[in-house]
């Protein structure tokens, strides 16, 4: 078992947060930048969001934090689910100046602290990049020499959330490698692939990286996480180093 920080009583209180900016990062993912006074978060944690209708009806959802610990604004990268209740509101209605309620940060397992070290293997499917982005941003700040590989799968090049930031970071960071897989559209770099992450592809990507990961974080839809985690275990990786976060439901 790893060390666990004492839970903060304040995580359970709902607090007002003001939307400062909404940035549409891809056709389906928007980042909300929030001014909130939550306790400091760890990279990988999430918050609960609560919306209230005029008659008192409330809806809650959980969203991973994409900003690094210490950033002045809290960034939530929200995927729009067309049949959803909360994400269409956050995409289509919410605007700067609006107030929503938050509580958290929450979660003490899918987190990475600088002294957890590396090498770090991160695997993201679609909007599952959000908590891994927090980890990468935190790493760049507190432990930039930590070797890291991000294997990131999306349907198309246009649907890679944080794409430009990741490519810029990779270009300037000798310890970071970004391997991109697009499953329904063309690749834009010769080193990337147009294929889902199956066992053989993952084996190749990790072999080219040439590092033995100390920690592995996988985040995405259930089927994606299941497939990637099973592939790593089948390849002989210890399940004990693999942490997963699965997005299910609307």
């Amino acid at each position: 078992m790893t060390a666990v920080s004492p839970p903060l009583a304040s995580q359970s209180a709902w607090q007002d947060a003001v939307i400062e900016r909404v940035v549409h990062r891809t056709p389906r993912v928007a980042s909300l930048f929030l001014r909130a006074s939550l306790a400091a978060h760890e990279a990988g944690q999430h918050v609960d969001v609560r919306l209230t209708a005029p008659d008192g009806y409330q809806a809650q959802r959980s969203y991973s934090i994409a900003s690094a610990p210490g950033d002045p604004l809290l960034e939530l990268a929200v995927e729009r689910l067309d049949d959803g209740e909360v994400s269409p509101y956050l995409h289509d209605v919410a605007q700067p100046g609006d107030t929503i309620e938050l509580r958290g940060p929450i979660g003490g397992h899918f987190i990475w602290r600088g002294d957890d070290g590396g090498p770090l293997l991160l695997v993201a499917g679609g909007s599952g990049i959000a908590p891994l982005m927090a980890i990468l941003r935190h790493r760049a700040r507190v432990a930039p020499a930590t070797e890291a590989l991000l294997a990131y799968s999306a349907r198309t090049w246009e649907e890679l959330v944080f794409r430009d930031e990741l490519l810029t970071d990779e270009a300037s960071d000798p310890h970071l490698r970004v391997a991109i897989a697009t499953t329904r559209g063309p690749r834009h770099r010769p080193t990337d692939v147009e294929h889902r992450f199956d066992r053989e592809l993952l084996r190749t990507i990790v072999a080219q990286w040439n590092q033995a990961p100390k920690r592995v974080y996988i985040c995405g839809a259930t089927a994606f996480v299941e497939a990637v985690a099973n592939a790593f275990v089948a390849e002989g990786m210890s399940p004990a180093i693999i942490r997963t976060e699965r997005y299910g439901g609307a």
């Binding site: 209180a13 107030t99 899918f110 985690a229 004990a240 997963t244 609307a250």
Partner: protein
């Protein structure tokens, strides 16, 4: 205070009265786990009841299959906000397990323990009286590995993280010892109707 421009999408009254606060209806069956799905072979599966380190009773998969079987229909509530109604389960109630082992609960608390190292704490009084089972079937089919198969604990009246997947045993403890998520910011008891999600919730 209302959120500007939020109307919400209310469930029907029939559904609404079955949803604890903060929950919404889910028709699929999402999977949430801390790591890879363990592949537990039925031939190697055992289930053990311990008091601290001391084993009180133990069953192989074959022996477990001879115990009395019970069906549950229950609404389940995940702390990540989804609820699923009228789920159908089959397995062995904790009452029948204790009866088969001829043991009375030696303490008031226990930890349900899983093959992947996960554990979660429960009061014994929440497991007896027909409230909980070791489930081996879901929807009439053998329980799939990703949902906890071969067997998981099912305690539908508490948040679903208490219903430990890939369960391998119950360990009676002298006091209420925090399990995996309970050490990581989640509530010690987890009553969905009181919205006991996190440490610090009433």
């Amino acid at each position: 205070m209302p959120t500007r421009g939020f109307a919400g999408r209310r469930p029907t009254d029939d559904v609404a009265r079955r949803l604890p606060p903060g929950q919404h209806l889910e028709l699929d069956f999402p999977v949430l786990s801390l790591g890879p799905t363990p592949q537990v072979e039925r031939a190697a599966w055992t289930f053990t009841i311990n008091h601290g380190p001391r084993p009180l009773a133990r069953w192989s998969w074959e022996e477990f299959g001879t115990l009395p079987r019970t069906s549950f229909k229950a609404d389940i509530h995940c702390v990540t906000k989804w609820s699923k109604l009228d789920t159908r389960w089959e397995g062995v109630t904790i009452d029948d397990l204790l009866a088969a082992a001829k043991i009375a609960p030696p303490t008031e608390y226990l930890l349900a323990q899983s093959h992947d190292g996960y554990d979660t704490n429960l009061p014994v009084k929440d497991l007896v009286g027909g409230q909980a089972m070791i489930a081996t079937h879901f929807g009439g089919e053998p329980l799939a590995a990703e949902h906890g198969g071969p067997a998981r604990l099912l305690v539908p009246h508490l948040y679903f993280w208490k219903s430990a997947k890939w369960v391998k045993g119950l360990r009676f403890t002298e006091r209420d010892e925090a399990g995996f998520w309970e050490l990581r910011g989640y509530h010690m008891y987890g009553d969905p109707w009181k919205e006991q999600r996190y440490t610090g919730d009433p």
